[in-house]
Assembly symmetry: C2
Homo-oligomer: 351 residues x 2
């Protein structure tokens, strides 16, 4: 089989969903995409593992990157896809093969867009960051990603979502002293003491700052808790793992300082951090895109790969078909009319 | 080698320590004890696996059970035993081969005690309850354990410790609702909600009731806590495992009712319970024993196998050489003079 880029966006979305591409297993889909875009004479194509970059080279004043990951979360008995009442149900339909179909259609049919375009199809977005195909591209060949503005085709229900919040995980640790539980007063119970950490979390009011005109909404939550030695021992350690989602007006360092202040008196160890991205909607290309596709831009609360573009100095927004609330769910789905609508709006803007 | 019951209590304790008998590996020591007591014509000997029961049959008005477990916790680089300044250091020296040595000496040398005596040497006390040799004996041949009073030779530093507290473990569970941690307000964080459970524990005042004249000291402690789904998910469950040590004036049912009341509003699931034992010091044999060995009887706070005798309707106390605070420690030890002293006091009482 070869992907038919002449098919409609609806048909192409269905075809993409039916090529299973769980993270780590993207080769067949990458081969198909590589073959399809390599057949287009107006594009320069580069492949790095299972990531593919296809560029126009028209010498336009501005260049736009349009990116989408081709992998999905694991199978959940939801392949092949099924269309019911104009809605495609199936693995990856929402996150984000609808968006990939839009990008492939634009790549095939916009031979001479008004802005140069760099199409990026990449692997391993749904797994650990160090396997991420966009990260790999940004290290192996950053010049291929150069652009004035980037659109990441994550599901946003057809609305522009600017930037993204950062995410930090940290272990908050409290110590105690072991003792036999039959003589508990000889020790100090670290799990009881962790109640103080939970008090902080229960009393915490998250910020909702305006950044570049968009309102973000932070969050600070325990995502894991663990403690205990044995059923008859007063525990001497309890660890609460917190996840801090921070607005893009804070750097990772500022986020860490905030956690150290909030949890003053406890040992705070940051285990993982991904910077946020400012929405960049003040950039002319971004502003014209937002105006062209319509709607009211809103803040992206979840972390996405727009932060990788931000780290390269490229303002980026999220825009794509599908409701992010059903992403990763067994019942994920996308309205096929929305896929076609996204394609039409982007085509109008780029033409 | 054959155990020499003609050796002094000090020598016998050293010999017993040097026969390694970690739980599950008691056979060699059981063989030695079985051979030694079988050679004594004044005793009727029964063996059940690695548990041995040896009884006088003098037709006395009262019968006393003297029991000790022959297993130890795992090796910790503390064998063979070493005597320094009259103190024997080594695995099992405190818990409880000093007490076993006393019982073996009494078995060998008291041919016509004033009370009939049932000596019980049993396996697997230091592991899961369902492997316990005394429990097995009580099921396979309860008639062999029949007695008016029992002395369990657990380390009590040569003081009579009456009865024991019960122990109950229960899972206290709080539910929440999952959500992506980037939109945490869409869910309900079960770990945060578990702060309410920790509040209860932090505010709890344990009872210190008098039971049969002895003061017990209860305790209610978290021994484990766990919760969490993934680093980016608001957790929908948190489980706090509590250990309730309850005085022997409460039955297991009353202990459960107490936990249900204390944790009203949470799901309480009892996972494990061992009943306590009343001290029974009002029984004439127990009272005469306590008077004979001297000191001021005190309450046993940790759970011991006296509860198994209590369950058979036999009042029981703990009495033996060695300080329970060093039991199970790598540096466990026993003063050899205390072993000899315990033997002398018990011999005087039984003669």
């Amino acid at each position: 089989m070869t992907l038919d880029l002449g098919a409609t966006a609806r048909e192409l979305t269905c075809a993409l969903v039916d090529i299973e591409s769980v993270s780590g297993n993207e080769q067949r889909l990458a081969d198909e995409i590589f073959a399809a875009v390599s057949a287009l004479p107006h594009l320069l194509v580069h492949r790095d593992g299972n990531a593919i970059v296809a560029r126009t080279g028209l010498g336009r004043a501005e260049r736009v990157a349009i990116a989408g990951h081709i992998d999905t979360v694991p199978l959940a008995g939801n392949l092949p896809g099924q269309v019911r009442d104009g809605v495609l149900h199936g693995l990856g339909s929402c996150d984000m093969k609808g968006g990939v179909a839009v990008a492939l259609r634009l790549a095939a049919h916009l031979e001479r867009p008004g802005r140069d375009v760099t199409y990026v199809f990449y692997d391993c977005e749904e797994v650990e960051a160090d396997r991420n195909g966009l990260l790999r591209l940004s290290r192996n060949c950053p010049e291929l990603l150069a652009a004035d503005f980037a659109i990441l085709m994550e599901p946003t229900d057809g609305e522009v979502e600017g930037g993204c919040q950062g995410t930090m995980r940290a272990d908050i640790t409290v110590a105690g002293e072991r003792a036999h539980s039959a003589r508990s007063w000889m020790g100090t119970n670290a799990i009881h003491a962790a109640g103080g950490i939970l008090d902080v979390l229960r009393g915490y009011t998250p910020r909702q700052p305006q950044v570049d005109g968009l309102e973000y909404h932070e969050g600070l939550n325990a995502v894991f808790i663990s403690g205990g030695v044995a059923g008859n021992v007063i525990p001497d350690e309890c660890v609460v793992t917190v996840n801090y989602r921070f607005a893009p007006d804070r750097s990772p360092d500022q986020a860490r300082e905030h956690l150290e202040k909030v949890f003053a008196g406890y040992a705070v160890t940051v285990t993982d951090v991904s910077r946020g991205a400012r929405p960049g909607l003040t950039h002319p290309a971004a502003a014209s895109f937002a105006a062209a596709v319509g709607g009211t831009p809103r803040a992206k609360l979840g972390w996405t790969d727009v932060a990788r573009f931000d780290a390269l100095g490229i303002p980026a927004v999220n825009y794509g078909p599908g409701d992010a609330l059903v992403a990763h769910a067994r019942h994920e789905h996308v309205r096929l009319a929305q896929v076609a609508d996204c394609e039409a709006r982007m085509r109008d803007w780029l033409a």
